[in-house]
Symmetry: C2
Subunit: 354 residues, 2 copies
Amino acid sequence: MSDDAPKFDGLQCPLPLRDYPTVQLAHGGGGWLSKMLVDDLFLPAFQNPALAQLHDGAVLETPLGRLAFTTDSYVVKPLFFPGGDIGSLAVHGTVNDLAMCGARPFALSTGFVLEEGFDMEALWKVASSMRDAAQEAGVSIVTGDTKVVDRGKGDGLYINTSGIGLVPEGVDVRPERVQPGDKVLLSGEIAVHGIAVMALREGFALESEVLSDSAALHELVGGLLDRLGARVHVLRDPTRGGVASALNEIAQAAGVGMLLQESAIPVREDVRGACEILGFDPLYVANEGKCVAIVEADAADEALSILRAHPLGKDAVQLGEVVEDTHHQVHMETIIGGRRVVDMMSGEQLPRIC
Amino acid sequence: MSDDAPKFDGLQCPLPLRDYPTVQLAHGGGGWLSKMLVDDLFLPAFQNPALAQLHDGAVLETPLGRLAFTTDSYVVKPLFFPGGDIGSLAVHGTVNDLAMCGARPFALSTGFVLEEGFDMEALWKVASSMRDAAQEAGVSIVTGDTKVVDRGKGDGLYINTSGIGLVPEGVDVRPERVQPGDKVLLSGEIAVHGIAVMALREGFALESEVLSDSAALHELVGGLLDRLGARVHVLRDPTRGGVASALNEIAQAAGVGMLLQESAIPVREDVRGACEILGFDPLYVANEGKCVAIVEADAADEALSILRAHPLGKDAVQLGEVVEDTHHQVHMETIIGGRRVVDMMSGEQLPRIC
C-alpha cells in the first residue's frame, strides 16, 4: 500500500461514514464505490501483499510451489437465465479467476446459503448444472458447505465458490508487469452476459434470444500462456463493471494509461440495440466468457492468432495499447474521430448480475 | 460411494421430493436432514473421492504435495455475541476445519454477501475482528470478494471463508482409520458457543455471562500431530449438531460403534443449567473451540497430557472408546448406570448458530 493509504488504527472505521453510513447496492457493482470499499476498508483491515495486488485471485509462494487461490460469491438474479444459471456461472467464474492468475484450475469448493422454503428441485438443477460445468472444465468440486437461513433473509440461493490452481513455471501475470507499448487484446464480443440477464429481469423481449457468454476460459488462456509464457503481462475477465472498469483497475495498478480504438470494440448488433434501449454503455456491461490480455507489443500478432484458433476466442481483437499517462487514465479514440476518457463505472448499473 | 447410493441420472432429483419439496431450516442444522441433503443430492451431483470422504475439508494429492482445502459460510445471528462475532467465527471456523484435516493453515479467502443498508461501521468492526483473529492464528487473508444484495434479501452480512493448508508428512487423519479399541478424546467443556449465542438471541439472562468458546485450534492440534503423527486417527470440531452428530458421522464413515461415559462429558454448571431451561441436550449444542480426537489406544494417555498442556485443551478428557458395532451406533453409559443410543440430531435445534 502507498503511504497515503488510510491508516487502520483498529479504533475508527477508515471509510468516510458521513458520505456512506450504510452499504449501497453500488458497493458491490464493480465500479468506484466497490473500489472505495476495498481500498479504504478491506485492504487496510486485511493488509498483506497478496491481497494488495488486487488481482482476480492471490498467487502464493508456498513451500510447494506457486499456488493460485480465489473466491467469489454469486448472487445473480434470476437464478436461471438464457445460456446458464447460478450454478454454471459459479463454476465458470471461479475457474476464470484462476485462469486470469495464470493458473491451471485444480479444485473448487462450494458454499451454499439457502433460504428456507427454496424449491428442492431447483437446488438439484443448480447442483446438476455445477456438475456439468465442472466436468466440462475438467475441475473437481472437492469440498462444500450448506447453510440455511430463515425465510425472508435470503433470495432462494447464494453460492460461493473458491478455487485453487497451480501456476506453471515461466508464467508471470500481474498488473505491475504492464508497460507502455504493450498491446491490449480482447477475446470476443462484449456485454452479452449482462444483456442476457437484464433483458430477462426487465421482461424485455429481444428480437433474437441473447444467451449469456458464461464459459470456462482456462483452455483459451492456457494456450496463450503455453506459447507466450511471460510475454503475457496481465489477464483479466471483465465481469462486473465490464471492460471499462477492468482496464481502469489495471491502469491504476500498473501506473500507466491506455488508448483504445472505439472502432475495434466488438459488440453484436442485437446486444448494442438492447444496450441502447436499456440505457447501458456496453463497455460497462458484465461479461462471463471473455478475457482481456495485455501482451508485449511484438507478441500481439501471435497472441491474436492463438486466441482466434480457439472457439471461445474466434472474435478476438486488438482493442488498443498501453501508453504513458501520469493520470493513469483510459482514453478512447471514437469512431467520429474524437477522444474521450473511459472512466471507471461510477454508480451501480446492473445489480446482481453475477 | 456405495452401490446403493442414489443414482444421479441428470434427469430427476434424487431426493424424495414428496417428503421435502422445499428446503427446511433443518437442512442446514448439521443433523439427519443435513446429512440427507449431502448424501442424496450433493454427493451424487459432485461425485469425487475427496468430497465423498465427508471430512471437514478435502485433502488433495497435488503434484506439489498434500494440500487441504475447505470452505464454510457463516450466517450466525446475531452478528455480534458474547466472546466473538461473525468475523472472528469465520476465521476460527475455517482455520479449525483445516486443522481437523491435519493441515497447517496457510491462507484464507473471504467472500462477503452484504445487504443493502447494512451499517458501514458494523462492517468495519467485523473486518477488524477478522484481521485480529487471523493475526492471532498466524494466517493471512489473501483474496476476497464482495457482493451486495437488495434490501430484504439478506440479513446484514453473510461471510464465506475458504482456506488452504499443507498436510505434513506422517499425518493421516480420516474417518476410515478409526478402529475398535481406539480412544475418543475431547479437548474441553462442551455447548458453550451455542448457549452464548442462544441466550442472547432468546433474551435470556444467565447468572454468569457465557462467552463463546470460538478459538483457533490449529496449535493445539498441531502439538498432538507433531508428537503422535499417524497414531492420531481422526480429528473433528463438533460445531453444528454438536459432539453427538460429529461422533455419529465418524462412526458411520468408519463402520464402527462408540461407547461413551456420560460421567466423563465436561459441561459447565451454568451451561448445563441454561441447556435445561432452553430444552437442549448439551451433546447436540454447537462448539467453536473444541475438538474430538480419536487416537490409538496406547497413545491415549500421552494425547491427553499433550492436550492438557495447552490452554485450549486444559479440560481435555477421554469420553469413551471405539467398539465394534454392525449398526454403527454411538452408545452412552449413563450416570445412573443405564445405556442409551446417542443418535444424530433429527431436527433443527439451533438455527443459524454459526
